[in-house]
């Protein structure tokens, strides 16, 4: 991996990931993997904390890596000491777990790291060959908007790309990766998250490599195996909910299920 440049620059190949969720082990494994893939830059699309243990460790590694990072809703909440994580859950059970996770993360993120999270930009633009990509956390319209594959219609993507004056929309936030090529040469990519598995019964997490191919775009989703058992033990030692630990060990989501649309929910175990 060559030196990472700032946003707005032009690249042939970049790695992108979101949702670290304090999973320092997966972050380290992902950064190692990206170094072997000839990428010119690494971008994090936000939500560094939440869910996992020792949030300061993940922020420190992320800062040290030089990955160009934009701000997720969790980062904004932790930076500002907001009353909740801003995930917008309405389901009482999801809110219960979200509160536990947020209180833990907020109380264990240093002032210096909170200041850094608070100064992150909400979005960035990137040139991939002739294509302009807009990088955001949730959607170009709202940091907490979920863009799921099954509830994001083509016309809505086209409208968002028009508004952003971009050819490629790149987001995270939902936790599930997907890619759609619109018929007109434009693309939408949800890069997934590296903080927790994909609700598919696998313990791997995922990041994304985008490569400019002349006038087109190649989208590659890359699985990352990491020491999830060590993560699970650290979460237990920190007293984090057993439901979170189960997700790390089994690859099935046990919480925050409310926000999943029917199609995505049907694929999981719970």
């Amino acid at each position: 991996m060559t030196a990472i440049t700032n946003g707005g620059s032009e690249h042939r190949r970049v790695a992108l990931f979101g949702g670290v969720y304090s999973n320092t082990h997966a972050l380290a494994a992902m950064l190692d993997d990206a170094r072997g893939r000839d990428v010119e830059a690494v971008h994090c699309l936000g939500d560094v904390g939440g869910f996992g243990p020792h949030p300061d460790r993940a922020v420190a590694l992320l800062r040290q890596s030089g990955a160009v990072t934009i701000q997720g809703n969790y980062d904004a909440a932790v930076a500002g000491g907001a009353p909740d994580c801003g995930c917008g859950y309405t389901d009482p059970r999801d809110n219960h777990f979200a509160r536990l996770s947020y209180a833990y993360t907020l109380s264990r993120t240093s002032t210096e790291h909170r200041r850094w999270l608070g100064a992150l930009p909400p979005s960035l633009r990137l040139r991939l060959g002739p294509l302009t990509a807009v990088l955001c956390h949730g959607s170009p319209r709202a940091v907490s908007e979920f863009l799921w594959e099954s509830t994001t219609p083509d016309g809505m993507l086209a409208a968002m790309l028009d508004e952003a004056r971009a050819d490629v929309l790149v987001c995270t936030h939902s936790g599930l990766k997907w890619h759609r090529a619109l018929g007109d040469g434009r693309h939408a990519v949800n890069v997934g998250v590296i903080g927790r598995p994909e609700n598919d019964g696998r313990t791997d997490v995922w990041y994304t490599v985008l490569t400019s191919t002349g006038d087109g775009l190649d989208v590659e989703f890359v699985p990352v195996a990491y020491d999830h058992e060590t993560l699970a033990r650290e979460m237990e030692a920190e007293g984090l909910p057993g439901e979170f630990v189960e997700t790390v060990r089994t690859g099935w989501w046990t919480t925050c299920l409310e926000v999943l649309p029917a199609k995505e929910r049907a694929r999981g175990r719970w």
Binding site: S150, T151, T152, P153, G155, K263, G268
Partner: protein
């Protein structure tokens, strides 16, 4: 003074496909639907399809079918097939007409579409008798049978409950328990507040603009949703059919002129999924 809410962008389009024609006559119905002489007529297929196509074209996120009871519409399954080719689609139903055959067909439609089909089945109280006092005899069991039928076919329905305040405590947990008893491994529950409109209108006042200072009106569902009916376009599904909520065009600003608007402002409620 009455506050107004401009349309931020059109995100959700509600289609009152059967008007106020329903096979139940719930005591709390927001639009006083029922089986006899519906005051708002069902919609023609061509009109529904045109609205769905318009919504997709302007970049809306999703479409909702409501009523009345949508599955009373003779072409409902065809309308769903048409909508699911274009947009994520939700149906609000009492579940009573979801037979084995209809459940099979809905599962097929859901599997075929790249977009999610959401079926929201209404059930208001975890106690059978309390529920059926409001919704009519047999409504409780038929709703749960519908949810189980859909779940067995890999279509996780959403139980939608209006919080009537009759269930002493823990409405949400009791509803979860109810679904667990029926082997629904993927329980999905949406709670809605009771709106003072239709059969429960109380003669209260709308929120005054001075009360709304500092409130993010852009977060109200009338800032990004519209409802279409056989007789025009309305601000939201709660007020569909009421003269003061009728709009000349979808892009018109909405007046918060009904007492039910107070519930949205105070609770932040949205009729949308999630």
């Amino acid at each position: 003074m009455i506050a107004t809410v401009p349309l931020r962008q059109l995100s959700a389009v509600w289609i009152q496909v059967t008007g106020t024609w329903c096979n139940l006559q719930c005591t709390h119905c927001i639009n006083a639907s029922g089986p006899v002489d519906p005051w708002l007529a069902p919609m023609a297929v061509a009109d529904v399809e045109r609205h769905v196509e318009d919504a997709a074209r302007v970049g809306a996120r999703e479409v909702y079918f409501t009523g009345g009871e949508p599955f009373l519409h003779p072409q409902m399954l065809e309308l769903l097939a048409h909508a699911l080719e274009r947009l994520p689609t939700t149906v609000l139903t009492n579940g009573t007409l979801i037979t084995e055959r209809v459940a099979d067909r809905l599962a097929e439609l859901a599997a075929r579409s790249r977009y999610s089909l959401e079926i929201r089945v209404s059930l208001d109280d975890p106690d059978r008798e309390a529920n059926d006092r409001v919704r009519g005899r047999g409504a409780f069991d038929r709703a749960l049978v519908a949810i189980a039928r859909l779940h067995q076919r890999g279509l996780p329905a959403i139980l939608t409950a209006t919080d009537l305040g009759t269930s002493a405590r823990d409405l949400y947990e009791r509803l979860r328990g109810l679904l667990a008893e029926r082997d629904v491994a993927k329980p999905r529950i949406k709670l809605l507040p009771l709106f003072p409109v239709g059969r429960t209108a109380s003669g209260g006042t709308p929120p005054d603009a001075t009360e709304l200072e500092g409130v993010d009106l852009g977060g109200l569902q009338c800032a990004d949703s519209r409802t279409v009916t056989a007789d025009g376009i309305y601000a939201c599904p709660i007020l569909a059919g009421l003269p003061q909520a009728r709009l000349t065009a979808a892009g018109d600003a909405v007046s918060l002129s009904h007492e039910a608007c107070r519930v949205c402002v105070e609770t932040g409620a949205s009729c949308r999924n999630g």
